[in-house]
Amino acid sequence: MKLLTHNLLSSHVPGLRPGAGFPLRIELGHPSELPPEPSPGYEADEEFLRRLHHVLLEVEVLEGSLQCPDSGRRFPISRGVPNLLLSEDEA
């Protein structure tokens, strides 16, 4: 799973407050190489853009999980594929 995909995902556990499902917490021991906020004028910062592109599109989470920020429910990521199916009772 790439970081750009993670940016589009939101927890769909029923009963959440609106908007509370995003962002899912990525759980693995990988520190980010990026500053938390883009510094002003980042569009021109070639070095930053390169790192951003790399992190968004070239880094893959292979094993780990995504955690719903509201309910705490965890969704596994296995071999690069996140499984976001809810169980019968949850749905």
């Binding site: 799973m1 790439k2 750009l4 995909t5 589009l8 995902l9 939101s10 927890s11 769909h12 029923p14 609106p18 908007g19 499902g21 995003f22 599109l57 070239e58 893959e60 969704f75 071999r79 690069g80 594929v81 996140p82 499984n83 976001l84 199916l85 809810l86 749905a91």
Partner: protein
């Protein structure tokens, strides 16, 4: 360039086309006419094109390990049609060559020695056809990209005994002969005329005799096997032809940075084709079935490996991801997706018609939610047109039907619907299903 058209199954050069051929009622007479036809056909130019095509193919296999952008792969064959050059956005090819010698026609992939009563044209019906009754192939030696040089090509002066076969595709119910008979007799005449050797399996030239009611087209094949299986190594029960997937994606008119989602991806035919041809978009594939997800992931790995061997400098990631999810409960943010493109379960091999009554409306609602209001669009393929129409009528506030294209998918009459997302915003809170 014609070879790089992504929505074409087969390529052949037209020798001659008869729009309204009058077959004699009697079988013997009809077949005799076909035999006599051989002598009268303008074979020279099409054969030149065939030779040219061969030299290109040779270059391609030689250079399999090298960058595919080599000049040899930019053939002298000009654009196959208006839509041919549209997607070569990353090459600056010159538009050389005079007349277009190639007729681009989506025909069935297999040899059909047996005719069918119904027209067996696979592919999208609104495909461009460049049929001409005369073929002019102007080979411009000056800007030649070396296709003929140093390849040990036989010159035209040499008399080479070629091996050939004739394939006849026949459709229509008023013919007095079968495709086998036509192929046999036409083949006999071809053999006499050219003194070539007939060989069903090891042939150099494949002559095509396509008969559709009163339309007869004689051609020479330029492709060996149907191009619809590219990009896919792991097939599933209903894997979509890559050529059809390409056509559907084109209908969405993807723009760079568009997010394109296939929420029922199966083996991933559509997103994989998407990532290969529209690498400036971001493609997401999803399915609820673990087998499908596995196959899609495998197909993507194969594609990655293929990419790696092509360009060793940087093995860039493919802009494509796979997720396991439920189409009725997509874990995607509202309004975050530009394009939804998918092959909906027909209710034949996957699911059932009964299930579709509930599934289709639920799908359309969820797709409407994730799609960007105003600019979003969806391209959906289905054979269950009745169910689809009913489902669509219930979501008129979210989706507007913009275009319908009729297609033949494995003999089934299906439709591809282009829908535009209205400006109405979807609710954040999901209704309970």
């Amino acid at each position: 360039q014609v070879h790089r058209l992504r929505s074409v199954d087969n390529l052949f050069v037209v020798v001659q086309e008869f729009k309204d051929y009058q077959f004699k009622e009697n079988k013997e007479d009809a077949l005799k006419d076909l035999e006599d036809l051989v002598k009268k056909l303008p074979w020279t130019d099409p054969l030149k094109v065939w030779e040219l095509n061969n030299s290109l193919k040779k270059k391609k296999t030689k250079r399999k390990k090298h960058n595919l952008q080599s000049p040899a792969s930019r053939g002298k064959l000009s654009d196959g049609g208006e839509e041919g050059g549209a997607d070569q956005n990353n090459t600056n090819e010159q538009e050389d060559c005079a007349q277009n010698p190639v007729a681009v026609e989506p025909t069935g992939g297999q040899d059909t020695e047996n005719a069918q009563g119904v027209a067996s044209r696979n592919g999208v019906e609104e495909e461009e056809d460049n049929e001409q009754s005369d073929v002019k192939a102007e080979v411009q030696a000056s800007s030649e990209s070396g296709a003929k040089a140093g390849d040990g090509q036989t010159g035209e002066g040499e008399a080479k005994v070629l091996r050939f076969r004739v394939t006849c595709n026949r459709a229509g119910d008023k013919h007095s002969f079968t495709s086998n008979e036509a192929a046999r007799d036409f083949g006999g005449a071809v053999q006499e005329h050219f003194q070539w050797k007939a060989d069903m399996t090891n042939f150099d030239v494949e002559v095509l005799l396509n008969i559709h009611n009163n339309e007869v087209v004689v051609g020479i094949a330029l492709t060996e096997e149907s191009l619809h299986r590219r990009n896919i190594t792991h097939f599933g029960p209903t894997t979509l032809r890559s050529t059809l997937a390409y056509g559907m994606l084109r209908l969405c008119d993807p723009k760079p940075t568009d997010i394109i989602v296939d929420p029922m991806c199966g083996t991933g035919a559509i997103p994989i084709e998407g990532a290969a041809e529209w690498p400036h978009c971001y493609h997401i594939a999803g399915d609820n079935n673990p087998q499908a997800v596995k196959r899609a992931a495998n197909n993507i790995s194969s594609l990655l490996r293929k990419n790696e061997s092509k360009d060793s400098s940087t093995a860039l990631g493919v802009p494509l991801d796979v997720i396991q999810w439920d189409i009725c409960r997509l874990p995607l943010r509202t309004g975050s997706v530009d394009i939804v493109v998918t092959d909906m379960p027909f209710g034949k091999r996957i699911g059932s018609k009964k299930k579709n009554w509930d599934l289709y409306p639920a799908c359309l609602m969820e797709m409407g939610r994730i799609c960007t209001p105003g600019t979003g669009r969806a391209v959906l393929l289905t054979q269950d047109k009745k169910c689809f129409a009913k489902a669509l009528s219930r979501v008129g506030h979210i989706w507007r039907r913009a275009q319908t294209v009729w297609v033949n998918v494995g003999g089934l009459h299906a439709a591809v619907y282009l829908l535009r997302r209205t400006s109405e915003r979807a609710e954040e809170a999901r209704p309970f299903w």
